[in-house]
Symmetry: C2
Subunit: 118 residues, 2 copies
Amino acid sequence: MTDKFDSQLMRGSLDLMILAILDREPQYGYSIQQKLREASAEKVDLKAGTLYPILHRLESEKLIRSKWDESSARKRKWYELTKTGHKRLQQQAQTWHAYVNCIQSLLPPKLALPVPAP
Amino acid sequence: MTDKFDSQLMRGSLDLMILAILDREPQYGYSIQQKLREASAEKVDLKAGTLYPILHRLESEKLIRSKWDESSARKRKWYELTKTGHKRLQQQAQTWHAYVNCIQSLLPPKLALPVPAP
DNA sequence: TATCTATATATAGAATGACGATGTATTGAG
DNA sequence: CTCAATACATCGTCATTCTATATATAGATA
């Protein structure tokens, strides 16, 4: 269908996506890229030049932690969430929901997503 | 509560918000700013330096149309949606929903918004 | 009267961050 | 042997939001 999401749209929620993917299980950069692409039906296709700098930043913020795997055939840098990172994921998810609700309320009823009855 | 949404988060959806507000009724810049602030419980507070350039861009893209009101006490530039703008609003809303669902599916169940049962 | 706040629009410059391009290196398939 | 896929990294560009600044008027307040 419609191809990739606009990069501007994804700004500000890339951290959330990456933290969410890492919350499932530890991953290395390349696999995060693939998982995101698969899980989004190709609509999210993070470039290496986008992903790796973000991972470095998240690590410098102590939200994730890395470890080189030298044992396997390919050199891979595995990442996992820290406790702080897990908390941050929860915060970001909450903010995200608030934002979604906000947009929701701005949209004309016909264009708004159906929400569960109270 | 939590104060304003991060500007990065709103990148890419400001057009959608502004088109949605204008879909309700014609507005001038300053009133768009206020309406957005009110409707969002102060969490969206567009600065003039953000809003006006966007309005100019949307007009250059023929999504909105402007008209100066000289008659009233204050000089105001009224904007309204064009037919193209209305179509764009619908497209953007659809893309937005797809994106929300995408993020939704990435989040661990506990952190995902409740969605209506199928 | 003077001044301050709110209203109303506009633009230039700084900061941010995703992308494209490019580079390196290794593995496995043909 | 070559090529595609895997795997990580960095630099320059570009789009967009913010801060700061500018102008101008209406109405309230001192």
